[in-house]
């Protein structure tokens, strides 16, 4: 009796070191401009060739501008990193979706939409949100640059098998409660290090009924509770999403893979090292009030009190007080984007709410699609007009204000309601204060110019 995680992991073990780690085979290696240059350099210095270049896919995302992408990148350091990625990929025969390419986008948005992400695969990337791809029933996790070099050299990693945990959420979600709220709720309940040393499987009605986009949002934030990755068993929703995508198997190969994928879900009776259970009815639309994603609460709830020095430091940075509820709090910046919430479904939810309304005058609202493909979907579905008429600014794809490596920065001291994954100090710019939320809460904030309880509006 095996778990989904066991099945995928065990089938990829090439060798084991006695009393030590295992050699795990990696099917797909995703790279981007920020965490790969030193790995290419390492190989070059040691005269080691890239072992399996055809199993590597590259994209430019962290440093890319979201305006005027047809022009040369202004920032010289960013331009150098992007150029280096292009040169390295060219030199080593690696597929690259560079800036301007029709498949360009955030690595965790691009790979699933191209069909590169598949159930049963092992996937890595020098980015902690690689856990996103677990939505398909893949073992996907973030690695450091030394490990990027190891995968370049051998298509393998030396790893100790993590322990397993399962988070089960059963029941029906209330109107206005989105996948982002589900994962923010889970992290607020179990804490930011509950998953450290574990790989997490999400199970139960809520995830079974969720779209692939929603599952990606949930798995994406697994790292925010410390887990190496999160997974959801592949099912018909997964297969329907994948079929016909450019890199997905076709014809007979599709049939063969499908049979394999259907064998992956956790056997009934398989055991986990740690389990958590939640009731969907307890989950409200969420916001965060602190400087880690575990510091979250339902809309309208009160910021808790604590004597802990780190907790106080966090509230101090945010300029917030224990006991307050943040409702009606004025907000000048809204960001809808990032590998957590920049897929078409996120923009549909936002557009649905925004349609026929106008954003508040005090708000600067950036909408940043996760990829060129999402950008063109926004156009095809007529969402651009809705956003533009409401005063929102649709930018070009990239990581953007999620980590503010490009020009999209929130000013010192300002609050931003953001659909991204991290509310760390300075994450969206030096001194910026991030409040994490779903695309619905972010859209409502932009319209009202302040945080409002969307669940009251919907009811």
């Amino acid at each position: 009796m095996k778990t989904l995680f066991d099945k995928v992991w065990d089938s990829h073990v090439v060798d084991s070191v006695t009393d030590g780690p295992q050699v795990l085979y990696i099917d797909t290696h995703l790279i981007h401009e920020v965490t790969s240059p030193q790995a290419f350099q390492e190989l070059e210095e040691r005269a080691i060739p890239i072992f399996r270049p055809d199993q590597i896919f590259a994209t430019a995302d962290h440093n890319t501008p979201t305006l005027n992408q047809h022009l040369p990148v202004e920032d010289p350091l960013s331009r150098k990193q992007l150029q280096q990625l292009s040169e390295n990929c060219e030199k080593h025969g690696i597929s690259l979706f560079e800036l301007g390419h029709m498949n360009n986008g955030i690595v965790h948005v691009m790979a699933p939409e191209q069909g590169i992400t598949q159930p049963g695969k092992t996937m890595v990337c020098g980015d902690s949100h690689t856990s996103t791809h677990g939505a398909f029933g893949a073992i996907a996790f973030g690695i450091g640059t030394s490990q990027v070099a190891q995968v370049f050299a051998s298509q393998c990693l030396l790893l100790t098998k993590p322990k397993s945990m399962r988070v089960t959420v059963n029941g029906d979600l209330a109107p206005g409660v989105l996948p982002k709220d589900v994962i923010l709720y889970i992290i607020s309940q179990i804490g930011t290090n509950a998953g450290t040393g574990y790989f997490c499987e999400y199970a139960g009605d809520v995830f079974e009924k969720m779209s692939m986009e929603g599952r990606m949002t949930v798995c994406n934030m697994s790292i925010e509770m410390g887990a190496r990755g999160g997974m959801i068993a592949p099912d018909q929703t997964t297969f329907d999403y994948m079929q016909g995508r450019p890199y997905a198997p076709k014809g007979e190969e599709w049939e063969a893979k499908l049979a394999y994928w259907k064998s992956l879900p956790t056997d009934s009776g398989a055991s986990f090292d740690k389990e958590f259970h939640f009731d969907a009815a307890d989950i409200k639309p969420m916001i965060t009030y602190g400087t880690n994603p575990g510091m979250g609460m339902g809309l309208g709830e009160l910021i808790p009190n604590s004597d802990d020095a780190s907790f106080k430091k966090s509230l101090d940075y945010m300029g917030l007080e224990a006991g307050s509820n943040l409702m009606e709090m004025p907000i000048n910046f809204v960001f809808i984007g990032s590998c957590t919430n920049s897929r078409i479904e996120d923009f549909r939810v936002a557009a649905d709410y925004i349609k026929g309304k106008r954003k508040a005058d005090n708000v600067t609202a950036w909408l940043v699609p996760g990829s060129k493909q999402v950008e063109s979907q926004i156009d095809r579905e007529g969402l651009r007009d809705i956003f533009t008429e409401a005063g929102f600014e649709i930018r070009q794809p990239g990581c953007s204000a999620c980590l503010a490596m490009n020009d999209d920065k929130i000013p010192q001291g300002e609050y931003c309601v953001s659909t991204s994954n991290r509310n760390f100090e300075g994450r969206q710019g030096q001194g910026a204060r991030t409040i994490l939320a779903s695309p619905l809460v972010a859209a409502a904030t932009a319209i009202e110019g302040k945080i409002v309880d969307v669940s009251k509006q919907l009811n």
């Binding site: 920020v34 962290h62 350091l77 049963g120 030394s146 050299a153 393998c156 030396l158 450290t196 410390g226």
Partner: protein
């Protein structure tokens, strides 16, 4: 990678929980394409204000403290996978980080760069903070071979866990690449069978 065997040093206390790698090295410094120079910007926004003036009271700006050992709060190194965080700590001169909990990727990145993460119990960590704060000249002894961390006067001591393979790598200054390449035959054989 530099070899690690034994270290005797004073320590710098950073009693903050959940220190994420964005704080260890903010994103705007990740544009470099080599591993050098990150030490100058370690904890940049906690060390310096908007005018690049040192922020008083931050332990790295406090001449009371010194040494190659960072004693940090719970859940150190969470967040981004950026190995730049380990490069920054090593670049600044740290060889050991002590905490009651390390995030997985940070721990791996540290071990791959000769920075030893030592996990201790929350109670021991509290006592260590107290000892270093009461007497900043306290010398800590780290003996990797014996997996032992103690104060030089032995009033505090604890054995720590480390994966035996990783211990061997640190002591010998090895990294994983050579080991993995030595497995190439097995890897190629694995590729032919697949699943």
């Amino acid at each position: 990678m530099e070899k690690f065997d034994r270290l005797i040093s004073r320590a710098v206390p950073l009693a903050v929980d959940n220190v994420d790698t964005d704080q260890i090295i903010p994103a705007r410094f990740l544009k470099a394409t080599d591993k050098k120079g990150f030490g100058d910007n370690v904890f940049r926004d906690w060390r310096y204000d908007g005018e690049d003036q040192p922020i008083p009271g931050f332990p790295l700006n406090d001449s009371t403290y010194d040494g190659q050992i960072l004693v940090a709060g719970d859940n150190f190194g969470c967040g981004s996978s950026r190995e730049h965080a380990a490069w920054a700590l090593v670049g600044y001169g740290f060889k050991v980080v002590i905490s009651s909990y390390f995030a997985d990727i940070f721990k791996g990145n540290s071990l791959n760069n000769g920075l030893l993460p030592i996990q201790v119990s929350p109670e021991f960590l509290e006592r260590l903070f107290d000892a270093v704060k009461q007497d900043p000249s306290t010398q800590l002894v780290v003996d990797l071979e014996k997996q032992l961390l103690r104060t030089e006067d032995k009033t505090l001591q604890i054995n720590f866990e480390i994966d035996p393979y990783k211990k061997m790598c640190l002591i010998n200054g090895y990294d994983d690449i050579d080991f993995l390449i030595s497995k190439k035959d097995k890897i190629e054989a694995f590729e032919t069978k697949k699943y």
